[in-house]
């Protein structure tokens, strides 16, 4: 049984007011025996019998070999895809359609090229209630909020620039701001730093950690970068090759804020090594079983 790490500075449940029935220990996001097949029950199986439970305010990372259904997991948790089997519930109620308050960010920053940065960041406010109906009357207040957010990620002076005038790292920072502007209770990140160079990536880990420590939303990060997972997450879920299922769970009880220095500590290196060997093992097993089944079919044919 994983223990709750002692390093969490604040109890997020006490801070957030009235967002849902989230007492300590009660999971905020819960997947219960979830499977997902593309193209009906007989189709390609992406996820198999996955069970996860994530408490409110936790930072969770999901790692695994490529093609293991990490992104499918994200779509399930946000209700963008319905589960073939099992149930997904968020904030105590079962997920039946797309959730309405989730922040999402992908590897591709998908900023709108016709809008300056500030108005790009404010896009969710034009959609999510209650901001949507308040936006016009309280414009100033919201602009302030967006500016604050841009400042936290170091983009204050670029608010009037168009996205394509900025570097990839800057675009991804703005993307992060956009996913957070409406104070989501749940943030989903699908390899958000995957396309960036190593230095920018490490810098943005710090930025993301700062924002998370200030706001304490529940965050699910899908990544193939094990160091990224160990740097940012409280809990790391390791997935097997397709059809994906969770084969191990690791608690990262390193004190926060973590820095690039942390990544050289023996404890950090240990965690990364353990996970790496786990993934290597599932990849090998998958390879062997694929070869075995190939041999079998060849035998059957001849």
């Amino acid at each position: 049984m994983p223990t709750v790490s002692s390093s969490r500075p604040t109890q997020p449940e006490a801070v957030s007011g009235g967002a849902g029935p989230a007492a300590a220990g009660v999971p905020f996001v819960k997947l219960d025996g979830v499977s997902l097949s593309y193209g009906g029950a007989g189709g390609l199986k992406a996820l198999n019998d996955t069970t996860m439970s994530i408490e409110k305010g936790r930072f969770v990372a999901v790692v695994g070999p490529s093609g293991c259904g990490k992104s499918s997991l994200m779509k399930l948790a946000t209700g963008l895809l319905p589960a073939t089997e099992g149930t997904v519930s968020v904030a105590g109620s079962e997920v039946k359609g797309p959730l309405k308050i989730v922040g999402m960010a992908f590897q591709n920053s998908t900023l709108l090229p016709w809008r300056p940065l500030l108005s790009n960041v404010m896009l969710p406010l034009e959609i999510v209630q209650p901001h949507r109906s308040r936006l016009r009357a309280h414009k100033k207040e919201y602009v302030e909020k967006a500016r604050d957010l841009l400042e936290t990620v170091g983009l204050a002076e670029f608010e009037n620039r168009f996205p394509w005038m900025l570097s990839g790292g800057m675009q991804q920072r703005a993307n992060l701001c956009r996913s957070l502007i409406h104070d989501p209770d749940l943030l989903m990140l699908d390899e958000p730093f995957g396309a960036l160079d190593a230095f920018t990536r490490e810098e943005l880990w710090g930025v993301l950690q700062d924002v998370w420590m200030k706001r304490r939303f529940t965050c699910i990060l899908v990544t193939h970068d094990l160091r990224e997972a160990a740097y940012l997450a409280d809990t790391i879920y390791v997935m097997s090759a397709r059809p994906g299922t969770i084969i191990a769970t690791h608690e990262v009880d390193l004190p926060r804020p973590r820095t690039v220095e942390t990544t050289f500590e023996p404890k950090f290196v240990d965690i990364v090594h353990t996970i790496r060997s786990e993934i290597a093992q599932v990849r090998n097993e998958a390879k062997l079983s694929a070869e075995a089944s190939k041999r079998q079919t060849q035998k059957g044919n001849s």
């Binding site: 946000t78 797309p98 309405k100 998908t110 709108l112 959609i127 209630q129 168009f162 394509w164």
Partner: protein, 263 residues
């Protein structure tokens, strides 16, 4: 220094070419002594235009009005159709083959039918202009809508955005460059439509004027008519090209930035 002369040259190139062609034309008519009822020289055409100026301008105005009304209808129908095809797969599956079939019919062939329904005169010219120009608009708007990134759609859907929200906030702005590009093509086609209808069934318009001039062997006047159509086409094209630049600068600005960066 060198890039500057290059730029000046580029700016004046269209004028140089136009004047060059006209000079060549004038020279060959004079040198080979071609009769003006076969090929009038540019100066003859200019003289004819001045002689019949009021009449030419009146008919040109008629053509312009027919074209613009047909073009306006084409925009309305084309945009709606484009939105339908671009945002619903069912509508795409149902409508697209029909549209392709419709578009492969030569529009001149529909003019006799239109005459039957609308009579001889301006309504037929308007309808022909419309029929010719709505198709590229519809196809381009649909293409533009289809370029919305699926990730962005996921982001918006997970915020609770409806299909209409996504269309308004992302789809339509994203389709704007495609829409404006199609307008430049469509306005030219609308002119073609209006003039075709006028040559076949009308009492006014440049097309009618040219048929009249032809029956009376006033060849310079016919060429004056052609020149007026060409001029109107170029001017409307420029208007929409400018509009495109103003409205969707974000789509081309990247290119400009790169260009200035490189040179």
């Amino acid at each position: 220094m060198a890039p500057n002369t290059q730029k000046t040259l580029e700016r004046f190139a269209p004028w140089i070419v136009t004047v060059g062609i006209l000079a060549l034309w004038q020279a060959s008519v004079v040198i080979f002594n071609i009769e003006s009822f076969l090929l009038p020289s540019p100066l003859d055409v200019l003289a004819a235009f001045q002689q019949y100026r009021d009449s030419v301008l009146f008919h040109a105005w008629q053509t312009m009005v027919s074209t613009l009304i047909g073009f306006g209808l084409g925009i309305a129908v084309g945009v709606l159709l484009g939105i339908c095809i671009g945002s619903s797969r069912l509508a795409y599956a149902g409508l697209y083959p029909v549209l392709i079939a419709f578009n492969s019919v030569p529009k001149v062939a529909t003019v006799p039918i239109l005459v039957l329904w609308l009579g001889i005169g301006q309504p037929t010219a308007v309808a022909t202009a419309f029929l010719l120009c709505f198709f590229p608009i519809a196809v381009n708007v649909a293409t533009g809508l289809a370029t919305v990134e699926p990730e962005l759609e996921d982001v918006l859907r997970s915020l609770g955005a409806s299909k209409i929200d996504i269309l308004r906030k992302v789809g339509l702005p994203r389709a704007m460059p495609y829409f404006f590009a199609s307008l430049k093509v469509a306005i030219t086609l609308a002119f073609v439509g209006a003039v075709i209808a006028e040559t076949l069934a009308a009492n006014s318009g440049i097309g009618y004027l040219m048929i009249q001039a032809s029956s009376q062997f006033r060849v310079p006047l016919m060429f004056a008519g052609l020149a007026v159509i060409a001029a109107m086409g170029v001017v409307t094209y420029l208007v929409f090209a400018l509009l495109e630049q103003r409205m969707t600068g974000w789509a081309v600005r990247r290119q400009n930035v790169d260009q200035t960066g490189g040179g």
